[in-house]
Amino acid sequence: MHIAIASGKGGTGKTTVAVALARVMGSCVLVDCDVEAPNAHLFLNPDVQNTQDAYVMIPEVDDGKCTGCGECSRVCQFNALAVLGKSVLVFNELCHGCGGCVLACEPKAITEGGRLIGTMQWGKAGNLDFYDAKLRIGEPMSPPLIKALKRQAECLEAKNTILDCPPGTTCPMVEAVGGADYCILVTEPTPFGLHDLNMAYQAVQQMDIPAGVILNRAGMGDDCIQEYCKANGIPILLEIPHSREIAEGYAAGKDILSSMPSLEDGFKKVINTISEGLNNG
C-alpha cells in the first residue's frame, strides 16, 4: 500500500501527518518527496547509511566531429542548444535531458554527460526505512530528482510506503503523488486552506487516485472544510485539534504523537479505513 500525503497549500501539516502515520504503521518506508524543502528527517533523526548523487543527462558536443548542420538545435524543444558555425553552445540549465539531440546528431558528435541535480540519502529510523533528497541550490527542476528518489525507494517495493509530497498542484506534486494507491490531503480550516484543498482535490481526481482529508488545526478557523467535504463526498479521515502545545512541540522538532499521544488511535483508524477501502475495491 502506497499512501501519498499532499496538500495544495504549504505548511498545513503534511510532514506531521506523514511521520505520525509511519510511526503507527511500524515497519514501513517513508519517502520525503519534498526535495526543495525536506523536513521529515528533523522529526525522525534517521541513521543515514547511504548517500547518492542524482543527475540528469545533458549533451556534450565534440567540436572536432561537429559539422554545424544545426539538427540538434532544430529538434530541441527547450532551446538549450545554439549552433554557431561549426560549434555548439549548450545551455545546461535549459536542458530537460530528453536525449533528442543525441539521436539527431548524424556525425555522432554528441554524447551525454550528467548535470548534478541533487543528492539522495537513505537509512533507518527505528524500524522505518527512510529516504529523502535535497535539490541542489540553483537547480530549477525538482521532478527528475523526485523520480530518482522514488525509484531508489522502490527497492523495497513490497512494503507499505508513505510519500511526504511537496505543496502545490503542478509538476513536483504530480510526480510525487503519481502511482500512489491513495492520497491524503492535509488542510486547515481557513479560506486559504479551502481554496488550495479544492485545487489539490481536483489534481488527484485527474490522476484517478482515491483521496481523503485530514483536517489539521480544527477549530482554529471556520467550518468551511467540513462543508466542502460534505458537498463533494470526500471523507474526513481525522481532525487534529488546534493546539498551541502541538505547535510548540513541532517548533522543537517533536513529532505529534509525542506532543499529543491521544492521537495515536486516530492515526491507526486512518490506516485501517484506507486499507479496508482499498481492499474492498
Binding site: S73, F78, N79, A82, L84, S87, L89, F91, L94, P140
Partner: protein
C-alpha cells in the same frame, strides 16, 4: 558591414523593439549601401524558454556583425558573443535613428547582459 536592429515593425521608420529575444522583427542593414531587409522573429514570440538563444542564432545566420537593441539577457549575450557579434543596448526611437547613432559612434558597446535572464 551588416548590422541588425531589433524592431517593432518591418521598415526603417519602425520603432526599435526594446526586447531582443522576443522582438517582433529584425532589420538587417548594410551600412555601406543602406540596403535594408526585415527578418521575422515570429517563431520565437511564444517560446517557453531560450528565446534569446534562438534569436541570437537567427541574427548570426544573417551575417550581421553588430546588434542594436534595447535590452539583452545573459543567454542571448553569450550566444551573440560566441558568434562574434557586437551588442549595443539602450537603443530607442526609430530604427533609422538607431542606425545614425551607430554610424556616428554615439552608442556604447555592451560588455555583458544588461538585464536578468529568466526561467
Amino acid at each position: 558591414m551588416l548590422i541588425c536592429i531589433s524592431s517593432q515593425g518591418p521598415d526603417l521608420d519602425s520603432q526599435v523593439d526594446p526586447r531582443f529575444g522576443r522582438a517582433a522583427q529584425f532589420i538587417i542593414v548594410d551600412t555601406e549601401t543602406g540596403e535594408a531587409k526585415a527578418v521575422d522573429n515570429n517563431q520565437n514570440l511564444q517560446a517557453a524558454q531560450g528565446a534569446g538563444i534562438q534569436a541570437g542564432m537567427t541574427v548570426a545566420n544573417t551575417g550581421a556583425k553588430a546588434l542594436l537593441t534595447g535590452h539583452c539577457g545573459p543567454k542571448a549575450y553569450v550566444t551573440l558573443n560566441k558568434a562574434g557579434i557586437e551588442v549595443y543596448t539602450g537603443c530607442n526611437g526609430t530604427v533609422a535613428q538607431a542606425i545614425e547613432d551607430f554610424k556616428a559612434g554615439k552608442l556604447q558597446k555592451a560588455a555583458g547582459a544588461d538585464v536578468e535572464g529568466h526561467w
